[in-house]
Symmetry: C2
Subunit: 151 residues, 2 copies
DNA sequence: TTTAATTCGGATAAGTTTGTCCGAATTAAA
DNA sequence: TTTAATTCGGACAAACTTATCCGAATTAAA
């Protein structure tokens, strides 16, 4: 009927997470990276990625520097402090934390949809995972060639 | 930046689940229900809902009858057998069971994305929830006014 | 047999997300 | 000071999802 609905995250969010992870990895080695390099490394459309990086920079997740030898960077000490939840929030807002699984305007403990209780459980686990996973966690396997940001 | 990304399910899926639940509830009382009534009860756009019901009927989740006094129905004995996973699958396909959290084409145990392990855990819980929740489960609270399909 | 209620199903429109283009602003280096 | 590399940011285009419209097919009832 429709195209496959495959997104726990939006594309913007996927790119944001992958870009942040790559930037974090390079930042740990004191390397600043350009938009072009990032897009290549995470296999994402350049201009679209630019907007997402800009958004992340505005939300103080990344530092951006214009001009030659400019690019994006994350303060070393922040690589561990920054969690997936921060990245997701900067791009998609607090959507993951609110909203009814069946799309009801007002759905809560008092007047829940039939799926409410079961849905809340799953979402809280997602929330917890996002809040306890840092950019540092995501970089760990990359160096060793255990994990990948493209393919 | 973008609109709030609020969907664990697509709208089509939300309507499909709510409609199936309402039809199940009425079917338990041997009532066949019309598209119009369904759309009203679940607060969904009529024509769009028609397409989703049609899709569910094609996948043998619903029985549909044309003509006056026609409408949609679910065999009583199927109300408990039909799980959320069946409804979701009929509308969105197997998306929930496949696909990488970060959108990689090839992401698996051997060559995972950095989020793979944590993502798989969450998704398996979602999968399990969908597979063990029946339409009967969803109807239980509706009669008693404990749960709601609109508002 | 006719009528009317209903689902079926294609065409099309509207809205959102994703993606592209291009010039402006910034800034390091020549 | 000029040049060139880069991010910034708006306008626009493409793709996908959601939604509407309307006629065809079906069928129970008048």
């Amino acid at each position: 009927m429709y195209q496959i609905h495959n997104d726990m995250f939006s594309k913007a969010c996927e790119y944001g997470i992958k870009a942040s992870t790559y930037i974090a990895l390079q930042s740990l080695q004191d390397k600043r990276v350009s938009l072009k390099e990032i897009a290549e490394e995470i296999n994402s459309p350049v201009a679209f990625t630019a907007k997402i990086l800009h958004q992340l920079a505005k939300n103080n997740i990344l530092d951006s520097v214009k001009g030659p030898a400019g690019g994006f960077q994350i303060e070393k000490e922040n690589v561990e402090k920054l969690k997936l939840s921060h990245v997701v929030f900067a791009i998609d807002g607090d959507s993951i934390y609110s909203g009814c699984g069946l799309g009801l305007e007002k759905c809560n403990e008092q007047q829940p949809c039939p799926l409410h209780d079961k849905f809340v459980i799953i979402r809280n686990e997602l929330k917890q995972m996002l809040e306890e996973t840092s950019l540092l966690d995501l970089t760990s396997g990359l160096d060793l060639g255990i994990t990948f940001l493209k393919r």
